[in-house]
Structure formats: structure tokens, C-alpha cells
């Protein structure tokens, strides 16, 4: 079977979403990204959610994180790195 389409797969879109939202995709790659969004409601939803996450996270500063939350987060990252040592699952 010879299959050839001009757009991305869902998996490729997920890998590129940060670059897309930060405006770092070259023109042709951005076109392929948006061609996929044209028909894929799942990826549209994903993009919307990622945009919300970035907008929300962008309002956070180091000072705005409560000391207890900061300690918990640092401990979690330390345990993660010192745990399995492998890729996050």
C-alpha cells in the first residue's frame, strides 16, 4: 500500500506542540501541523488544553509557589531521578 499525505500524524503533532505554540515552527512545518488540526478534533482539543496550561503556568513565578509546595515538588523530582533511573512512564 502506498500511502502519502501532506500532514502530520497525531503522535508527531504532540511532539511539536510546544514549538508550535512558541512560534518556532518553520512555515512548512506549521502548515503540516495545521493541516492535521483541520480534521482531527482530538488534536484540536489537545492544542487548546496545552495553550491553557502554558497561559496558566506563565502566570506563575517562583515567589508565587508556597514554600511547602516548593519543597514537595523538589522532593518529587529528586525521588524521580533517584528512583528507577529510566524514562518517566
Amino acid at each position: 500500500m502506498k500511502l502519502s499525505v501532506p500532514d502530520l500524524s497525531c503522535r508527531e503533532l504532540v511532539e511539536l506542540v510546544t514549538e508550535y505554540l512558541e512560534g518556532r515552527l518553520p512555515f512548512d512545518e506549521r502548515t503540516r501541523f495545521e493541516l492535521h488540526l483541520g480534521y482531527c478534533d482530538y488534536c484540536r482539543t489537545y492544542l487548546r488544553q496545552m495553550r491553557q496550561v502554558l497561559e496558566t503556568a506563565g502566570e506563575l513565578t517562583e515567589e508565587s509557589v508556597a514554600p511547602e509546595a516548593k519543597s514537595s515538588l523538589l522532593a518529587a523530582f529528586r525521588d524521580w531521578k533517584g528512583g528507577s533511573g529510566g524514562e518517566p512512564t
Partner: protein
Amino acid sequence: MIAFKFLGAGAVAPYTGFRWPIRGEWVSAPVHRADVWIHACRLSDLPYWIDEELWRMELDAPLRETRYQIASACGRLQGRVEGWGPPLARKFAEACAWRARDVALPGLPPALRDAIAGAADLSAIVAGAAALGSVQGAYTAKNAQQGLPALTSYIAAVLASSTGGGLGAFEAERAWQARWLVAQLGLDAAPHAGAT
């Protein structure tokens, strides 16, 4: 240059969320930032970018024409193409589903081919395909029934590509879809009288 643009409900750009002014005000992007220029469709590009609303728009130089769209640093909406709405979107999806049926028929197992070839409507394709285990066939017809034109037209083009023609067949199917839309909507890319 006259072009067209699909937008979400309320003239909102589907990916950026930008709400387009609908009274003809010009919208500009930085000339040196081609990555944020305004995107629009030539008539042949329409099926790639289907959305809820279709608008006629005017683009000003500089322009950048690429394979599936055209981009400009400056553009404005000229008016909504009123013919594009849920009834025609459903009709388009159904036309694409029948095209997909015709493309798929030669490669189907005999029992499935007979069931689908004789189908009088999309419900019969859904039932026949589901009964004989063709998830793709049932899925395509069901999307068309639900009035999902972007997905159904994409599936029809992918099917054309998958039967051996590759990207050329994909684009040929998209070209057929564009001709269908242009004919049904009576579109042309000539400047309208009264447009300034």
C-alpha cells in the same frame, strides 16, 4: 488578491483564537515575520481547511503562495459566504463518503463489495460494513452522516492515496472536492463590484 478563509463560529480563527473584524477593517502582521502572516485559501485550497464559517477576503501584498495555502501580511474580510453552513457541509460530507465508497470498492472482499455497492444510502453502508467487519467503511459513512465534512473529506483523500496513487492521488481527490465546493457555492476569485 481575492481569497477565502474558513473560520470558527463568530469569525474566530480556529487555532489562534483571533476574532476577525467583520466590517472590513484591515488586519496586519509584521512584514518581516512571515511565520505570523495571515493565511487564506485559493479556491483549490478550500477542502484542506474546512471549518464552520467561510469568508471571502482580500489580501494585500506582499503575498506568499505555497502548496496548500496563501499567506499575506495584510488582509480583511469582505463578507461571509452564506451558502456554507450545516446543510451544505453535510451534503459535502456525504458526497465525499460516496466517493470513498467508489474508490474502495475494487479492493474489498466480494461479500463486503456486494453489500456496499448495492447500498442505497449511507445508513446501508454503515450497516453493511459493520456487519461484515469493515470498521473503516462504517466509520467513514458514519462521519458523513454526522455531518463531519473535514474528517470525511480527509478520509476520502487518504483512501485515494492508499489505493496506490500516493500524494498525487490524495491531491487529485482534494482537487475534486474543491471543484465540488466551488460549483455548489458559486465561488469565483474575481473582485466583487463595490469592493474597495
